[in-house]
């Protein structure tokens, strides 16, 4: 029994030997010495586009000796949205997660500040546009890092031949490949006349007025063009204003030239409308063109992506950024920031843009002139103006500049398109504005 007792002398001898062995042992860095990291990316629409992200992550993981597990989560059926909500409630989940447009502000209290990542990126890659700042930065704190993958401008994508034939507009001359736009005459009046001509010619413009993102984004940009705000940045309801009335009047005229079923369109409807050959213009990132390139090449050859028409208060185009963020309950925050920094480098962004066929759009000003946009085709240069390389239009988001909690409700409940449809279908202007004011009042609750 006595031999099993650990007396002071034996304890000291034992620990000393163990310490000596520990100190003498060489430092062996394990394959994953810097720990583990789980990442949830947005699952890209464009086939093969995830591969660029995957390769970039592997490259970083090998260099930093971090074991990374990646999930590509689709936004179909709101899966990404549900995953985010579940992780927020459970306070457990991915170390880096893709947050769509409004989510950084929704989860502001649970996100790790990213100023130490974003500020050096801005220094290196140029400033971000106002919409990215509005969505991603609250109270001086960057809630997440603007992501390249999934970010997009939903500008007009037009049929070169049909605009020429029905409306006498040479869209390529207005937006020449490789040169600044010559689009001073491309304003809302011209747009309305062109919509009428194309409708009479049997190929109407395809602008949705449903409750999904494409419809809301278009309405948002056109409202901005009139300076029409439903709620201002202080949270005051400003819907009963002249600019809002002007926007509704304009939309009523425009709606007469759109297909009658636009109030029921979803985000696939406009793509189908263009690819089927019926439509002469839609508002979309280049995914419709990419589908046409595969399924209807003769139509793809006639497509040109360009800028929005200007209104009395300016030329606005919808920009929908994705962000990469880290929860404050993430266990490996430093590795998460390191990975996001790696993914946001100019070279990484370019790889993502190339893999997505020009769909992805970095938010930084110096990253809008990659070769891929100038070279993609047919027709060559069709995507040149897609990233707004000449800052020809102000990138915007519907419902801005309202405080985020209100703006998100305006956006998701499609208040602007609902107002347009109500008014265009014969409801009195005041009644439409009263309805909207009451809805907005409800969104202001805490």
């Amino acid at each position: 029994m006595g031999s099993n007792k650990v007396n002071r002398r034996r304890f000291v001898a034992g620990t000393a030997a163990a310490s000596a062995a520990f100190v003498a042992a060489p430092f062996v860095r394990g394959a994953y010495a810097a720990g583990k990291l789980s990442v949830g990316f947005w699952d890209h629409w464009v086939p093969g586009a995830n591969k660029a992200t995957e390769a970039l992550v592997k490259e970083w993981a090998d260099k930093e000796k971090v074991e990374v597990s990646m999930d590509f989560i689709t936004s179909q059926g709101n899966k990404l949205l549900l995953t985010t909500a579940a992780e927020s409630t459970a306070k457990s989940g991915h170390d880096v997660l893709a947050f769509s447009t409004w989510l950084p502000s929704r989860y502001a209290d649970q996100l790790v500040p990213m100023n130490d990542v974003v500020e050096p990126l801005i220094k290196a890659n140029g400033p971000v546009n106002g919409t990215v700042e509005y969505l991603g930065k609250v109270g001086g704190k960057w809630l997440a890092v603007p992501a390249t993958s999934g970010s997009q401008i939903k500008g007009p994508c037009s049929r070169i031949d049909l605009l020429k034939k029905h409306a006498g507009i040479d869209i390529q001359a207005m937006y020449p490949a490789g040169a600044p736009p010559k689009a001073d005459g491309w304003n809302l009046d011209t747009f309305l006349k062109a919509a009428e001509a194309c409708q009479k010619g049997g190929n109407p413009f395809g602008l949705g007025l449903g409750a999904t993102s494409d419809s809301v984004d278009t309405a948002g940009a056109l409202f901005h063009a009139f300076g029409a705000q439903l709620v201002n940045e202080k949270g005051d309801i400003t819907v009963k204003s002249d600019p809002v009335r002007q926007a509704l009047d304009y939309y009523k005229k425009l709606m007469a030239f759109l297909p009658p079923d636009v109030p029921s369109w979803d985000d696939a409807s406009n793509n189908k409308f263009l690819v089927s050959g019926q439509g002469s213009l839609i508002m979309n990132p280049p995914s419709a063109w990419a589908v046409a390139k595969r399924d209807a090449p003769q139509i793809a050859e006639q497509l040109w992506t360009h800028g929005f028409p200007a209104g009395p208060k300016g030329r606005y185009a919808p920009f929908l950024p994705f962000f990469w963020g880290t929860w404050n309950f993430s266990k490996n925050q430093s590795a998460a920031k390191s990975l996001v920094t790696h993914l946001s480098q100019a070279s990484s962004a370019e790889k993502m843009v190339i893999a997505s066929g020009g769909y992805d759009l970095p938010a930084f000003a110096n990253l809008t002139t990659f070769k891929v946009w100038a070279e993609e085709g047919p027709p060559k240069g069709t995507l040149y103006h897609y990233p707004n390389p000449h800052n020809h239009q102000t990138l915007s988001i519907a419902a801005a500049p309202a405080p985020h909690k209100i703006a998100e409700q305006i956006y998701t409940q499609a208040i602007q398109t609902q107002m347009v449809v109500r008014f265009a279908k014969g409801e009195a202007m005041d009644k439409t504005l009263d309805w909207a004011a009451k809805e907005l009042e409800g969104f202001s609750r805490n």
Partner: protein, 309 residues
């Protein structure tokens, strides 16, 4: 003696063992133990989420403080909420009535088919019910497609113009109810068929001898014999239809102008898409009192008839 027993552990253990043995031999204990896995499953998958939903519904928008019935009070002041209440009732009641009528008629047809070919018909008629609704609704979505509707293409051959199946409030309501009826009627049919088969043939023979007409046989024999199954099927279907989500979500996503939203889809729009989870939980919980009232009335009627029998 009790003192001795208390001091003697062997006696205590023996007593405990025998009482445990007795307990285990009781029918109610065995029944409870056999039902325990299901009770646990229900507790995890039903009771906990329901309790959690109640808890969420009492929080403010930021989920930081308790607001009691604040979310419900807020909902009562919203026009859109009352539109959703109206649409949910219209959707559920209309759909259940049509499902019941169609199910009843078809069950009679199938019942009168000679037993040799009946199985084939039963199988075919059950198809809409056994296909996952999200899938079959997708097929309906293509039929109703705003621009390329196959139904409109057929109607055009008869000189009928485009019908805005999902583009106009009235038609959109009609479309979602139609799809729900199409999916749900086979369930009524199979339940009614089972009930029809259990009606004793002698009752019909007696009615025929008394000179009852076809209609009188239905009214005085078939319907009274089927009353309980009709009530239970209607209640079950009412609950499921009120709580529907997939059909409206896939077909119209609640549009146009919120005119087809029902509790489930609007709760999702407000709670998940709009980021106001407490309000979404409050919307979804609003179904509970409506269904509880319906269930109470229907089940009370069934119990009353049961005791009369």
């Amino acid at each position: 003696m009790a003192d001795i027993a208390a001091r003697n552990p062997a006696v205590v253990t023996g007593d405990r063992r025998s009482s445990l043995h007795k307990l285990m031999q009781r029918k109610s204990t065995i029944a409870f133990l056999m039902a325990l896995p299901l009770i646990l499953l229900l507790a995890i998958l039903v009771a906990y989420p329901a309790g959690f939903a109640v808890y969420l519904a009492t929080l403010n928008k930021g989920m930081t403080r308790f607001v009691g019935f604040g979310n419900f009070e807020f909902l009562f002041g919203r026009d859109t909420f009352w539109l959703v209440v109206y649409q949910s009732c219209l959707f559920a009641i209309t759909a259940v009535i049509f499902k019941a009528i169609i199910g009843f008629v078809v069950a009679h047809f199938v019942h009168n088919i000679p037993s040799k070919g009946q199985r084939k018909w039963r199988g075919m008629l059950l198809v809409p019910w056994v296909i996952p609704p999200a899938m079959s609704t997708l097929a309906w979505l293509w039929l109703f497609d705003p621009s390329y509707s196959a139904l409109n293409w057929i109607l055009a051959h008869f000189g009928i113009g485009n019908v805005p199946w999902t583009g106009e409030a009235g038609w959109a309501r009609f479309s979602v109810i139609l799809v729900n009826v199409w999916i749900g009627s086979p369930f009524f049919m199979i339940m009614y068929l089972a009930a029809l088969k259990s009606v004793p043939e002698q009752l019909y023979e007696a009615a025929s001898i008394d000179g009852a007409t076809w209609w009188q046989r239905i009214w005085y024999v078939t319907l009274p014999m089927m009353r309980n199954i009709i009530a239970i099927t209607a209640l079950f279907s009412l609950i499921v239809t009120f709580a529907n989500f997939d059909i409206v979500r896939v077909l119209t996503a609640g549009g146009p102008l919120n005119s087809t939203h029902i509790f489930g889809t609007w709760a999702f729009r407000v709670g998940i898409e709009g980021g106001d989870i407490p309000l979404g939980a409050a919307v979804s919980l609003f179904m509970v009192p409506i269904l509880a009232v319906a269930a109470t009335f229907i089940l009370r009627d069934i119990t009353k008839r049961g005791s009369e029998v």
